[in-house]
Every structure is written in C-alpha cells, then in structure tokens.
Amino acid sequence: MNVLLLGANGYMGPHVVQAIAAEHRLRITDIHPPPDEIKRKYGDHEFRDVDVTDQDQVIRAAEGMDAIVNMAVVRRDPVLAFRVNTLGCYHVMRAAVQHGIRRVINTGPHFTVAGPTYEGVDFAIPPDIPPHPGTGLYPLSKSLGHEICRIWAEAHDIYVQEYLFYSLQETGQLTLGAGGVPFVVSWRDAAEAFRLGLAIELENLPSRFEVFFILGDAPQGQFRNDKAKRILGFRPRDDVDLLWRRAAKDERRKP
C-alpha cells in the first residue's frame, strides 16, 4: 500500500515509519526534516516537505496514495493550533475525497474526547464517548479536527480511524515504581497500532469513523483499551503496569 504520512518527523512519526516501512511504500512528509537515522535507514522511501496547513500541498502529496496517516500537531501556538489541528484535518479529508483514498488514520491526545468532565472523575472510560475536550487550545482544536473527519467520513466512502494517546515512553523507561499518568503506552506498541490500522479490512471496522484509545494495560482502570484489542487486534507487548508496582518485599526491607 502507498501510505502518505503527514507530520511524520515529530515524536511519533519515526516510530511509525519503523513499524510499517517493511510492509508499505511510504511518502514521509513534514515541514521539518527527518531524523538522520530515518533518512539513512529508509532512504528507499520517499521524503517530501509538506505543510499540512496548505491545502494544495496536502492534495498534491496525496496523489497516488492508498492511505493517509495524519500525525501533524501543534499544541500551543494560538494560530497554528487551529490551522494544523483543525484545518489540517479538513485538508486531509479533501485530499482523500479528491484522490479516492478510503483509509485515513488521524491522531490526537486522549482529551480530544475525554476532557475535564471525564478525566479525573470517571473510570472505565471508553473511546466512544461524546467528545468533551474542554476549552484548552490543544484539546479543543484537535477535537474540532476530529469532528471534521467524522462529518466527511459520514458523507463519503472514507474510513477514518482516530488513534488517541496520552503518555508515550520508551520501553526502557517503563521501570518499576516510576509512576505516571494512567494512560500510557510504549512507543513501539503505539507504532504497532498503525501497522494494524493499515492492515485491517475496512469493512471490518464497525463504521466509517472509529475512535481508539491506544494505551497499554494500565492497572487503574480509568481508560479502556479493549476496543483497540477487539477490533484492531492490538496486543501491547510492554508491561506498563510496572510503573505502579511496588518493589518486592525483601527489597522494600533494605535500608
């Protein structure tokens, strides 16, 4: 499959490239250059400068593609947050329509849907909840992009998978008792979700717009990852619950 990656040279992108490069032909794009290691190791794939805020650039970049993975994000700039997180999704969906691309994977933070009225209040929060992002710039601008994807998916023959994340860590950082937020996944497990999302038969998705929480098996039970497991076949390899395990008894007794 020919896959367009937008915002591919940030934090998430290099991990996704590594997870899917062996199985797909990638067009790796961003406004920033790729890490040297990625350029060196995956030089047989295509690299291109693409600004997701520019509709023409996105449409041109999507030509000849079978899937679009949008990892573009801006968190704090009051203008760019909307142009990238909201308008960027509009450009992605326009490009998908124009080129007959039926598979789109969009990304965002967990509070795209599970904002302050859910987080810290409820447990067993699934991804299929009415979005309550709150009024923060980052979650709200991402949530509006999410809505654009939903509206377009319902109007066109496009299947959108929304992958939502919170904390991402290197496998080596998942250490005993380190703690952290109860929505965490290793980078390699997160990247694996994209490989699964590109592999799934579109007709096996329950609808043309599906949201998934991508997290490991966190013991607190605040957020649920069973939908990703059930539908995508997501199986986190890294034990995130290490983060909250106490040391063994004899170790705790040591001075």
């Binding site: 509709q55 009051p78 203008v79 909307f82 142009r83 909201t86 308008l87 509009y90 450009h91 969906m93 326009r94 904002g115 302050p116 009225t117 309550h132 992002p133 709150g134 009024t135 710039l137 709200l140 601008s141 949530s143 509006l144 809505e147 654009i148 509206i151 377009w152 319902e154 109007a155 066109h156």
Partner: protein, 279 residues
C-alpha cells in the same frame, strides 16, 4: 416613544406603510420589552458587543439593540456606523481582551462570510470564536448569543420535523461546517461554565417588503424577527429550556409560516419568541 420604536424594530408592532406583509398588531407587553425594561432598571454594566459589524445583519442588529442597550460594534474591517465601534480581528491578543472589558453580553455572528473559501471560513470562524470567548470568559462576560445558521441541520431529509435536540448534520464541504464548529466551541465554554451560551440558528434573513410577491421560501425569517429573538436571548433571566442545562441553549429562529422548514415551538415557549412576519 423610544419603547414603541424599539417594539417596531423588533417586529412587535405594526410599522405602518406599504410592504409590511401580514404584520401582526402590537399585543400586550411582550418578553422583549420586559427584557429591555430590566436593562433600563437594572445594572448599568449592560453593554452589548455585536461582532461581524461589516455585515448588514450585524449592523441592523446593532441599530435595533441600541434602542434598549448600550451597544458597541466590532469587526476586522472599519465600518461606517453611528454606534461606538472598535476594529478587532478577534486574535489571541490584548486587543481582543480590551474589546470585551466592561461588556455584559456578546452577540456573536458566527455565520460563515460569503465569498471566501471554506478553509478560511473554518479557520477564521472557529479561531475568532475561540479567541473571543476565551477573552470574554476571562473578563467576566455573562452571556454570548451565538447567531448560527439552520443550515447546520440541513443534512436531514425534508420528511423530518427537525428540532433543536437533534444532532447537527451540516453537509460536508459547506459553510455550515464552519458554523457548526463555532457552535462546538461555544458548547465547550458553556459546558465548562465559563459563559452562558445561547445559540440562535436562523434561516434566510429577508425583509418582508423586499420579497413581497416572490414564491414562498420555507427558510425565510424577517430581519426584524431575528432582532426580536436576539433581544429575547439577551434579556432572558435564564436560558435553559426545557430542562436545566443552565449555561447552554439552542433555539431555531424562523417565521412560523405554515410551510416553514423548521418549527419555532421551542423558541416560542422558551424565549417568548413571537415572529411577526409570516408568509
């Protein structure tokens, strides 16, 4: 005299003259006048800010509301007006913060401007609404009346009698998407209790005299009835109807003509809306 002039502008009294189509005679003291009375008798800090003053509708609303409220207009471009005016692009900056200081309520026209690409409609509409509401919440503005469009509900077939409690279905790739997203911004501010937000979804705004003799359009609403609805939304003691959502309400504003596309029952019951012009 000032009261009668206000009622005439609000479509609640016969304006007289040719061209007034099926105008209803003035009835008993109605909600809009009661709202205006509360303004005169109540807190002096009642300044109303009206956005999008570079549009005819906003200017008409500003002129009409100025009969009962101290009104200030704003828009990104300079406009000719007798009312106080401040130019502002609704950016995330001090200018927007200054704009909303001392304002009690905002009438924010979130209607997508014609003649620009949908991408720009989305970006400017959503970002402007967000910046305005963020500044307003910080400044203690009490209420925002967000004027949106009934087009956000146009995704339903005409066989359905669509009401305010139906999920919005704006057609993809239409200006209604920008209007719907502005509503979503307002909804989050209301949900977080940072502002009271009343959404008025309006139809195609006309002046009854100017469409006299034309085939009836079920989306018509007279500009003076829109003014009435905005006045009612500004002056209502509480906005939630019928259940207590406290900070959030949506009303459909149209004529109550027999063939009107959407019912105005909720606006009639919840705001006291009495459309004056029908076809």
């Amino acid at each position: 005299m000032k009261r009668r002039r206000f009622l005439q502008r609000a479509g609640l009294a016969v304006a007289g003259g040719a061209g007034a189509v099926a105008a209803r005679p003035a009835g008993p003291l109605v909600a809009a006048e009661q709202a205006a009375s509360r303004v005169r008798d109540g807190d002096q800090r009642r300044r109303v800010l009206v956005t999008a003053a570079d549009t005819p509708l906003a200017r008409a609303l500003g002129d009409g509301l100025a009969e009962a409220w101290p009104v200030q207009l704003t828009s990104p471009a300079d406009v000719q007006t007798r009312l106080p005016f401040a130019r502002c692009e609704l950016a995330a900056d001090d200018r927007t913060g200054e704009l909303v200081k001392g304002v009690d309520s905002i009438v924010h026209l979130a209607l997508a401007p014609a003649g620009i690409a949908l991408a720009e409609q989305i970006d400017s509409g959503v970002r402007g609404t967000y910046n305005l509401f963020t500044a307003a919440a910080a400044a203690g503005v009490r209420r925002a009346v967000l004027v949106s469009s009934l087009e956000v509900m146009s995704g339903y077939g005409e066989v359905f009698q669509v009401a305010e409690d139906w999920q919005p279905r704006p057609p993809a790739d239409a200006p209604a998407v920008a209007e719907y997203l502005a509503e979503r911004v307002g909804r989050e501010f209301a949900r977080q209790r940072k502002l009271e937000v009343v959404v008025l979804r309006i139809g195609k705004v006309v002046r009854a005299e100017s469409v006299a003799g034309q085939p009836f359009d079920p989306w018509w609403v007279d500009q003076r009835d829109v003014l009435q609805a905005v006045s009612l939304a500004l002056g209502a003691k509480q906005i939630s109807y019928p259940r207590g959502t406290e900070n959030w309400a949506v009303f459909h504003i149209l004529s109550d003509s027999p063939g009107a596309r959407f019912s105005v029952n909720k606006a009639q019951a919840g705001l006291g809306y009495r459309p004056h012009y029908r076809w």
